[in-house]
């Protein structure tokens, strides 16, 4: 049985660890979770990304979610924020495309051009 102090210590350790990973992450993947995104399948897209990152033992990428990005007809949307601060937005992302974003974009640093919706 862990004491409250132990739990607090674990929480602090986890917080430091997360902050460190945020700092050193090269890529940031953001899944849009507004109403339209969710209705179009964004939750499965997120699950596919998490699963693929885990399978490939990737440790330099953080995954977050955001709300509506304002392009409802292009949902599900996935943004990849790159080491050079540019952002690639993929549109109409299926779980298969989401896995390819990890295996091609994150692992091989190759943008999947036929699924790019916005680039800036």
């Amino acid at each position: 049985m862990k004491t409250l102090a132990d739990l607090r210590e674990i929480r602090e350790k986890a917080k430091r660890e997360m902050a460190q990973r945020e700092q050193t992450a090269r890529y940031r993947i953001v899944v849009a979770m507004g109403t339209c995104g969710i209705a179009a399948g964004a939750r499965s897209v997120m699950s596919a990304i998490l699963d693929e990152l885990n399978k490939r033992h990737i440790t330099d990428t953080v995954v977050t979610q955001t709300g509506c990005l304002g392009y409802c007809d292009q949902e599900p949307l996935v943004q990849v924020m790159q080491p050079d601060q540019t952002t690639i937005t993929y549109g109409k992302v299926t779980p298969e495309v989401a896995r390819a974003v990890v295996s091609e974009h994150i692992v091989n640093h190759k943008i999947i051009t036929n699924h790019v919706f916005l680039q800036k």
Binding site: I10, K15, R21, I38, N54, T64, Q65, L69
Partner: protein, 182 residues
């Protein structure tokens, strides 16, 4: 939407956008009262009375990217289709409570769906937020705290997403053991 768990994801995303740091999700099933109740409570920026009054109208949103909001009005519609209802209580700077209920045995009531995927993804994608899920039924109670994920991560020294499948399964099984709507 085909699942209540997808609506929960949508409503919790409102809380995240409102800068909440603590979000409580409570699901209560009662066969005796023939009622399924879902409450989502956050400590985010809150809503003015004027916004609450307008927000269940599908043509209201505060976002600038498009003219209509629809998450809350969609859920209200789902509730009224099941002889239920939806209430919002909020105070600016304090937080918001969305309280929705359905007639449990209504033919129109959606299944709860993949609540494990909803919660697991939420916790992993927003690790700074404390999520607390409580599910009660006539036969018992299941609780999931996002702190479990952080503790596992710290103890095993792994990435958060290494725990995605495991936490999803843990939640699914915990809910299945007590629930009639999962």
């Amino acid at each position: 939407m085909r699942e209540l768990a997808l609506h929960i994801l949508d409503i919790v995303t409102n809380s995240i956008e409102a800068q909440a740091s603590r979000i409580i999700i409570a699901v209560d099933e009662s066969v005796r009262d023939n009622r399924l109740r879902i409450r989502i409570k956050d400590n985010g920026r809150g809503m003015s009375q004027e916004l609450i009054d307008r927000v269940l109208d599908p043509f209201v949103t505060t976002r600038t990217t498009r003219p209509v909001g629809m998450g809350l009005s969609l859920l209200l519609q789902a509730a009224t289709d099941c002889e239920g209802g939806l209430k919002i209580s909020s105070a600016l700077g304090r937080g918001t409570l969305v309280d929705v209920h359905f007639k449990l045995n209504s033919l129109n009531r959606m299944p709860l769906g993949e609540i494990g995927a909803t919660l697991s993804n939420l916790c992993i994608a927003s690790p700074d937020i404390h999520f607390y899920y409580r599910h009660s039924t006539d036969s018992g109670r299941f609780v999931f705290d996002s702190f479990w994920l952080l503790a596992q991560m710290a103890a095993r020294n792994c990435m958060l997403y290494t725990l995605a499948g495991e936490s999803e399964q843990r939640i699914r099984e915990g809910v299945l053991a007590i629930s009639s709507v999962a």
